[in-house]
Point group: C2
DNA sequence: TTAACGCGGTTCATTTATTGAACCAACTTT
DNA sequence: AAAGTTGGTTCAATAAATGAACCGCGTTAA
């Protein structure tokens, strides 16, 4: 029961690491008859959800996926869903947070949710670019983003913002190693003195970070006894945002954040 | 025959202007039985391609569309398809072209295809930002992009690059009116002296421009007798790129470009 | 050289899920 | 209060999905 669903379920066998599949292999994967799978594929090909490479005869996701996503995005923008999710995180933790995305090779702020629980808050310009070496978000991106970013760090001159800013590539590489173990990153006055940040990556479909979320708060509120709650909220938040943006969390990513 | 296809075809009734549809209305639109439509919707809802608003009971495109598009994009990036299409346009016309997208409120170059037919060519930095008042692409975007761009033009100071640059908002508004009639825009040395550009918009799903394509050539090759061929190539190119990026051309857009 | 095996795709009798008219119950409009 | 919506259900009739066997082709192994 549910022929259409059976057809759609075939799409789940495609992934970033297995972007195209042959008829027999797909039938094997789905545990279904080749004739059945073929008819389903043909139906979806008619609609454009599936595309067959005429040379290799392999099947892949078709262009209709783009159309539908554009439609979904117009009616239900991912940024709106992200804002909603971030607002509940703000309620839980009580601190401001911001969402950034890697565009070309700079980390652009896309969304800022300010805390309503404190009158003293970190104010963030939504048009600001996050320096990659001076913010928790930037370090997270260096750790989990495209490897090209890291190599680029060597050639570019790193800007210092405060006396805390990391400007030595070797220092940063060491920091990245601890981030890779923990999953989360933090910064303490490295961009603006007195501001503490906690960031986590948001992954794309290929399990490479496409952006980051971060909590930002005055140093005096970043106490050790608040840290566990912040980290728990940050972890589930990063997981949910990754889902909202259609991404996949790599297997190597920690299943929980620990101080 | 093709139940899965019939189910998928329901998705085509959703659009930017009709993002959610009730059961009865969708059955009427599709000319199918309510029971049939309901079962199809439930199948697709299971998969996540459809989402029902629990309050209004209306149906809309679901989050799986985002996932699938991310998959498609990873395996078959739209920029690659765009580059291919632009390369054939370059072969047809023999001139360099570039593709730009509106990001936040600046026009970022995303792709440059240089001509292989001339040794004298306009060289474009792929990281460059297109000034909105000084390039054919910028004017096209002002005309067909988000209305907010136009109102912003009044508050910001417009930069002059050459003696040809338009810096008076009233002048630009007049120019936009002729672009709206023609569909295409051009520039003659307004960014760099001696460079002539022809641009057309690329539309999003909501029929608002999300980017532009433009041919750029030395002034002396922008002759009247080459213009018709350039404009024909530009029109089909803009149409194809709009399709590649999942957009829709507005009904009011000219079906052909005339000098 | 040949046999075995894999592939994508087809065929067709059997079966099973799809279909659609009629029908609810709950609202709105007239 | 009657008539028309709506979303959703039921079930007998039927049309479409299914799967084992098969085909032709190319690759691999004997």
């Amino acid at each position: 029961m549910g022929t259409a669903l059976n057809a759609l379920k075939l799409l789940d066998f495609f992934s970033a690491s297995r972007p195209e599949i042959g008829l027999s292999q797909l039938a094997r994967l789905a545990g279904a008859n080749k004739a059945t799978v073929l008819r389903h594929l043909r139906s979806m090909e008619d609609f454009g959800l599936i595309e067959q490479n005429p040379m290799t005869k392999f099947y892949a996701i078709g262009p209709a996926a783009i159309r539908l996503a554009a439609l979904r995005e117009a009616a239900n923008p991912r940024l709106d869903a992200a804002r909603l999710r971030m607002q509940t995180a703000m309620q839980e933790v009580g601190e401001s947070l911001h969402l950034s995305f890697l565009e070309k090779d700079i980390l652009q702020t896309a969304l800022v949710v300010e805390t309503t629980k404190h009158t003293v808050r970190v104010s963030l310009d939504p048009t600001e670019v996050m320096p990659i070496n001076a913010t928790a978000s930037g370090l997270s991106m260096l750790c989990y983003g495209p490897p090209a970013l890291k190599s680029q760090m060597n050639t570019d001159q790193l800007q210092g913002f405060t006396k805390e800013t990391l400007t030595d590539p070797d220092q940063i590489r060491a920091q990245i190693e601890t981030i890779r173990r923990r999953g989360w990153s933090n910064s303490n006055g490295s961009y603006e003195l007195g501001v503490h940040g906690f960031a986590a990556p948001i992954f794309g479909i290929d399990r490479v970070a496409i952006g980051t979320v971060a909590f930002a708060m005055p140093e005096n509120r970043a106490t050790d006894n608040r840290k566990p709650a912040i980290l728990i909220a940050l972890h589930t938040l990063a997981k949910d945002l990754t889902a909202i943006f259609g991404g996949q969390i790599p297997d190597s990513f920690p299943p929980a954040f620990h101080p």
